[in-house]
C-alpha cells in the first residue's frame, strides 16, 4: 500500500478507501444494489399487472377510464419537477453552495408533498365512489341514484340465484354468504361495503366483442355461462382486480415518497449544518438516486394505470 502515500489526505476520505473516487463509487454501487432490489420489488407488482391485464384488458380499460388522468398527469409533472430540483441539489452540493442546496432540498420536499396531497385527493375520490377493493370498506358510500335502478351491480340482487353457477369463481364466496340477508329496502347503500362498479363498461366489452378483441379469459369472465349475456357482477370482479392493483402499486409508490421525504428532511438538516461540499457529497448523490428511482416508477405507473383505455373514450379513428 505504499502508493497511497502519494495521495494527499482529503478531509472527507475514510481511511479504508484509496481515494475519493473509489469512496464515491463504493457508495454509489451500494445504492444501485439496493435500487436493483427495488426494481424487482416493484417488478413483482408490474408482473401481476401484466398477467391480469393480458387476461382482462377491457375491465382494465373501464377501471382506468374512471381514474382522473388529469390529476395523474399533473402528478407526473410534479414529480419530474422534483427530480429536476433534486438533480440541482446534487449540482449545488458539488459546488459547495450551501444556500442553494437548502433551497433546492426545500423545493424538492415541497413538490414531493404536493404529489402526496394530490394522491390523498384521488384516494378520497375512490373512497367516495365505493371503489376500495376490500369488502366492508365501502359501507358509507352512496350508490349513484341514477344508476341505482340498474342495480345488477349491487351485490344484494340476484346473488342467491347465481350461487350455484358461480361455484368456479373464488371471489364469489363472500357474496354467497351475504346474498341471503336481503337489503332491497335500502337501495342507496351498499350493506356489505363491497366494491361497487357503476361506471359502465358493457359498451366497451360489446365493442371489443364485435371487433374480435376479447381474450379467451374475457369470453368466459364477463358473460353469464347460461344466458351468454353480459354479467355486470362478473365484470365488476375483474374491475376490482384492476383497483386492487391500482391501490397496491400507487400505495407502495406513495410509501416510497413518504420515506423519500424523511430522507430529504435528514438531508435538509445536514445541508443546513454545511456538511456537504465538493469534497464530500455522497449522501446527497445517493438520496438523489433514490428520489429519481421513485420518479421512474411513477413514469411507468402513469401510462399503465391512468391512460390505458383513454383512446376508447376519445378516439373513433376506426
Amino acid at each position: 500500500m505504499a502508493d497511497t502515500h502519494k495521495h494527499y489526505h482529503q478531509p472527507g476520505l475514510q481511511h479504508q478507501f484509496e481515494n475519493m473516487e473509489q469512496q464515491q463509487e463504493s457508495a454509489t454501487i451500494g445504492m444501485w444494489m439496493f435500487l436493483v432490489q427495488e426494481i424487482m420489488f416493484f417488478g413483482g407488482l408490474f408482473t401481476v399487472y401484466l398477467v391480469f391485464r393480458s387476461r382482462y384488458p377491457m375491465a382494465f380499460a373501464a377501471g382506468s377510464n374512471h381514474l382522473d388522468a388529469f390529476l395523474g398527469g399533473l402528478n407526473t409533472l410534479v414529480l419530474i419537477v422534483s427530480s429536476f430540483t433534486m438533480a440541482l441539489t446534487v449540482y449545488y452540493a458539488q459546488k459547495s453552495n450551501r444556500t442553494m442546496q437548502v433551497v433546492m432540498i426545500l423545493l424538492t420536499m415541497f413538490f414531493g408533498s404536493v404529489f402526496l396531497g394530490v394522491k390523498v385527493i384521488e384516494y378520497g375520490d375512490k373512497y367516495n365512489h365505493g371503489l376500495i377493493p376490500v369488502s366492508g370498506w365501502n359501507k358509507k358510500t352512496p350508490i349513484q341514484p341514477e344508476i341505482a335502478k340498474s342495480s345488477d351491480s349491487l351485490i344484494e340482487t340476484k346473488v342467491s340465484a347465481k350461487e350455484t353457477i358461480h361455484a368456479d369463481e373464488g371471489t364469489h364466496s363472500e357474496k354467497s354468504q351475504v346474498g341471503h340477508d336481503s337489503h332491497h329496502e335500502k337501495p342507496y347503500y351498499n350493506p356489505t361495503g363491497e366494491f361497487q362498479w357503476n361506471y359502465g363498461g358493457e359498451d366497451l366489452v360489446m365493442m371489443a366483442k364485435e371487433a374480435g378483441y376479447l381474450t379467451e379469459a374475457e369470453k368466459i369472465g364477463y358473460f353469464d355461462p347460461i344466458t351468454k349475456e353480459f354479467d355486470p357482477n362478473r365484470f365488476r370482479d375483474k374491475v376490482r382486480i384492476f383497483y386492487w392493483i391500482y391501490f397496491a402499486m400507487t400505495g407502495l409508490h406513495a410509501l416510497h415518497m413518504v420515506v423519500g421525504l424523511m430522507i430529504m428532511s435528514w438531508l435538509l438538516l445536514k445541508a443546513i449544518q454545511g456538511t456537504f461540499s465538493a469534497e464530500y457529497y455522497s449522501p446527497v448523490e445517493i438520496s438523489g438516486l433514490y428520489w429519481h428511482f421513485v420518479d421512474i416508477v411513477w413514469i411507468f405507473l402513469f401510462p399503465l394505470l391512468y391512460l390505458l383505455g383513454r383512446h376508447f373514450l376519445h378516439g373513433g379513428g376506426h
Binding site: E21, V36, G43, L50, F84, V90, G288, L289, H311
Partner: protein, 112 residues
C-alpha cells in the same frame, strides 16, 4: 456511451456533469414526453394494431426513464461496474416478465 475508466483522474473537472442548462434540457424533454404521452393516449391507434397505444406509451416511458437514469442519476458518467449493476436490474426484470408470460400466455383458459 461514455465508458470512461481511463478518465478517472479528471473526475473533479468532470463531476459537474452537464450543468444547469443541461439538466434543464433533460427536464424539458421529460415534460414534453409526459405531454406527448397524455395526448397520444387520447388518440385511437388501434387501426395500426390492437394495443398500439400501449406500445407508444411504454416507448415514451422507456425513453423518459433512460433520460432520468443517464443524466439525473449520472449513470452516463459512471464506471462500467455501475452500468453493469443498473443494466443487470433491468435484465432480471425482463427475465421475470418473459418467463411469467411465456407460462400464462400459453395456458389453456379452462383452469383460469
Amino acid at each position: 456511451m461514455a465508458k470512461q475508466n481511463g478518465k478517472k483522474h479528471e473526475y473533479h473537472e468532470e463531476h459537474l456533469h452537464i450543468g444547469i442548462p443541461g439538466y434543464f434540457l433533460v427536464f424539458l424533454a421529460l415534460v414534453v414526453g409526459t405531454i406527448i404521452t397524455y395526448v397520444v393516449a387520447l388518440k385511437d391507434l388501434d387501426w395500426i394494431f390492437p394495443g398500439a397505444n400501449t406500445l407508444v406509451a411504454l416507448s415514451i416511458a422507456f425513453a423518459k426513464m433512460s433520460l432520468v437514469v443517464l443524466y439525473f442519476m449520472h449513470v452516463r458518467w459512471q464506471s462500467n461496474l455501475i452500468w453493469l449493476t443498473a443494466l443487470g436490474g433491468f435484465f432480471w426484470l425482463a427475465i421475470m416478465f418473459a418467463f411469467t408470460m411465456q407460462d400464462y400466455l400459453t395456458r389453456s383458459v379452462i383452469g383460469r
